[in-house]
Every structure is written in C-alpha cells, then in structure tokens.
Symmetry: C2
Subunit: 165 residues, 2 copies
Amino acid sequence: MSLDSLADAFYDELCDIYHAEKQLLNAMPRMIKSATDSRLVEALTAHLEETKKQVQRLEAAFEDTAKRPKSKKCEAMAGLIKESLQMMEQEADDQVMDAVIIASAQKIEHYEIATYGTLCTWATSLGYTNAKERLGENLNEEESADKTLTKVSKSVNKAAMVHGG
Amino acid sequence: MSLDSLADAFYDELCDIYHAEKQLLNAMPRMIKSATDSRLVEALTAHLEETKKQVQRLEAAFEDTAKRPKSKKCEAMAGLIKESLQMMEQEADDQVMDAVIIASAQKIEHYEIATYGTLCTWATSLGYTNAKERLGENLNEEESADKTLTKVSKSVNKAAMVHGG
C-alpha cells in the first residue's frame, strides 16, 4: 500500500499491532508454562487475559478508519517471539529462567508501548476519538504490565542470585 | 549455552545487545537517507554517533564478565530492522514517511530501553559496577533519544496532516 496520508500510516500501523497481539496470544501460554515463580505465572496469566481484550479493542479501533480489520505480518513481534522461544529452549536453572522470561516479556511490552504511543498520537491528530480511547486503554495496560514485571523481577533476581550469581 | 546462573544470563543478554547495536549501525544510515525533516535528520545523525560510542561501552562492559565480547544474533532487532526497511520501501508522501521513520525509530529505542533496563538491574545484582555504569550511560542516551523523537514528531505529524490527514 502507498502511504499518501497519515491516515494510511495509521491504518498500516494498526494492521501491524493487530497481527502482533494475535502472535502474542499464541506465544504467551509457552512463556507461562516455562515460568516457575508463582507471582510471575500470575502476572503473565493476567496479561494473557488482558491481551485477548486488547485484540477486541483493536477491532473496535479499526471502525474510525472505515476499513476492515486486517492483519499485516509484524516482523518485529515475530523476531521478539523467536528470540523469546530460543531463550526458553536453553537449559537453565528455574530461577534464572524466570529472570530471562521477565526480560523477554519486558522487551515485548516495550515494543507495544512504543507502538501504542505512536498510534495514540496519530489518532489524536486524525480526530479518531473512539480509536484514541481504545488504544489509550491498551497503552495503559502495557505500561502497567511492564511495571508489574519490574516488581516481580526484584524477588526473582534475588532467587536467581542464590542459585549461582 | 546453559543458563546456570544470573551471570550466564547477563553475558548472553550482553552478547545479544552487542549484536543489536552493531546491526543498528548498519541500518541507521538508510533511515537518515529516507528522512526529509531537518530536525529528524539531525536527531538520527546524532544518535548514530551515540550508537558508535555505545558499542565501545558494551565492549568495556564485557570486562566485568571476564569473558570476551561476542555477538549473538539478536532476532528481535533483526525483526525490528526488517520491518523498518520494509516501511521505508513503501511509496509515501515525504512528511508521512518522516512520521513512519519516527515510529520505527521509537520502537527500536524502546527495545533498547527494555534491554538496558534489565542489564542494569542484573549488573547491580551481580556487583558488576563498571558494567552498570557503562550500561546506565547507554540507557540514559536511549531514553533521551526517545524523548527527542517525541518532540520532533509533533511538527512532523502536523506537516503529515497538511499533506493528507
């Protein structure tokens, strides 16, 4: 597609994050299965449920563009997930693996924070008030998930240190 | 490699960002060439220079691990760059392309912010004081580059709206 206007760029970016979130829905159960720390499992499970709602909000955000929801392969999320799965295939101490899962998950959160930040700014410029609201909700959830992981990481890192340093 | 300790995870992550920053050194000139807005060109050019110094700081950070600097293919950055290059290959209005370049660059910054955040936390846990200092400098530069791009985006988005909306 040709990007002749900011509306075109917005639609293209929305198709990208729509695909990214759906990729994540497939990958998160694997991360949860590889985690040991109960608070980490809880945080990831809660975020998996949030992600399902985020996909629905994205579908609602498409309404402002007057175009149908479409997935565009998100190469960045594909790379993030590939890296995350590779890490989880490594032999590792359980507590160290938890620390690595948090690191991977926070990279994914930050990708989404950057994308939703851009989409919210563009939605405001374009007067897409409905989309702005939905995307803002997704952004808040990603920022909150990132902060929760930072909190969980404190005890996880301590446990990982005890097991090797 | 087997991740038996947090020190193993730190080394693995350091090898990952070392490769990521070197990939970025190759990709940034293409982004600069595709940009039109003079403040955007200036911000990206300044960050390219910073990135060269960041690679040197990473090499210094390896000293605390008592292992040699090694690159580990960073799949996440490969995906981020692939997506960015695909965007730049699209037909686009100059001002809209500037907005898209900022979006791509901020995704990359956020990947680095997440990675340096993790590395700084782990360096503190591991007592790697030299590495912590170097990685903290890189983290500050990435956060600052992200803020600069947000500032530049305000006028770029306005210009993109004038050219289509």
